[in-house]
């Protein structure tokens, strides 16, 4: 049983390590990064939670952990949505070029 748990947790960790490639891939813009990173992060957390649940069996720990996982499942995409919406409303749509909205954001 614990071998199965380690395999599932390993899959979750692999997802998160792939997410690191996603946020550092050169030549991509911000929307690419937030799409890749937040999706893979949420999925990785869910998989890790399932692995820990298999590891611990049915217990107090598992129930509480699933509460956290459900909350993250709601909150993490919500934060990503708000950040992307904020970027989109500000007109930040540069694809790969070096338009630095960052510098001009505080200027006005």
């Amino acid at each position: 049983m614990s071998i199965l748990a380690y395999i599932v947790m390993g899959i979750g960790v692999a997802f998160m390590l792939l997410g690191v490639i996603g946020i550092f891939k050169p030549g991509k813009d911000f929307y690419y990064r937030i799409l890749v990173a937040c999706k893979i992060d949420t999925v990785g957390l869910l998989t890790l939670g399932i692995g820990l649940a298999i590891y611990h069996g049915i217990s107090f720990f598992t129930g509480k952990m699933f509460l956290i996982v459900i909350m993250i499942l709601v909150l993490n995409p919500f934060v990503a949505h708000i950040v992307a919406r904020s970027a989109s409303r500000s007109g930040y749509d540069s694809i790969g070029d070096s338009t630095d909205v960052d510098e001009s954001a505080g200027e006005k």
Binding site: M9, V13, M16, L17, G19, V20, I23, F24, F30, R33, I34, A37, C38, D41, T42, L45, L48, G49, L52, Y55, H56, F60, F61, K64, M65, L67, I68, M71, I72, L75, N76, F78, V79, A80, I82, V83, A84, R85, S86, A87, R89, S90, G91, Y92, S98, D100, V101, D102, A105, K108
Partner: protein
């Protein structure tokens, strides 16, 4: 399990780099969001390793309070030119 804990701690490094160098402010916010979710996983693994299930309370509190600051900063930077305050949209 210790290996996963170490990997999660190590993952904080690239995310902090993303927060430090991110070309736009939203990249930085993305980094903050990723760091906070990683830290929740670190807490879960720590409580699982030391057999302290009440520390999951802390993880719940962390999940519930960590996102608010990020959302506020995002709201502050949204629609920068056309409005003056946080809620002054006509």
């Amino acid at each position: 399990m210790y290996v996963i804990f170490a990997i999660m701690l190590g993952l904080l490094v690239p995310y902090c780099i993303r927060v430090a160098v991110g070309p736009s402010v939203w990249d930085r916010l993305l980094g903050v969001n990723l760091i906070s979710s990683k830290i929740i996983i670190i807490i879960i693994l720590y409580s699982s390793l030391n057999d302290l299930p009440f520390l999951l309370d802390f993880a719940i509190f962390y999940a519930l309070s960590g996102f608010i600051g990020t959302i506020f900063i995002a709201l502050f930077f949204s629609d920068r030119d056309t409005k003056k305050g946080l809620g002054d949209r006509k």
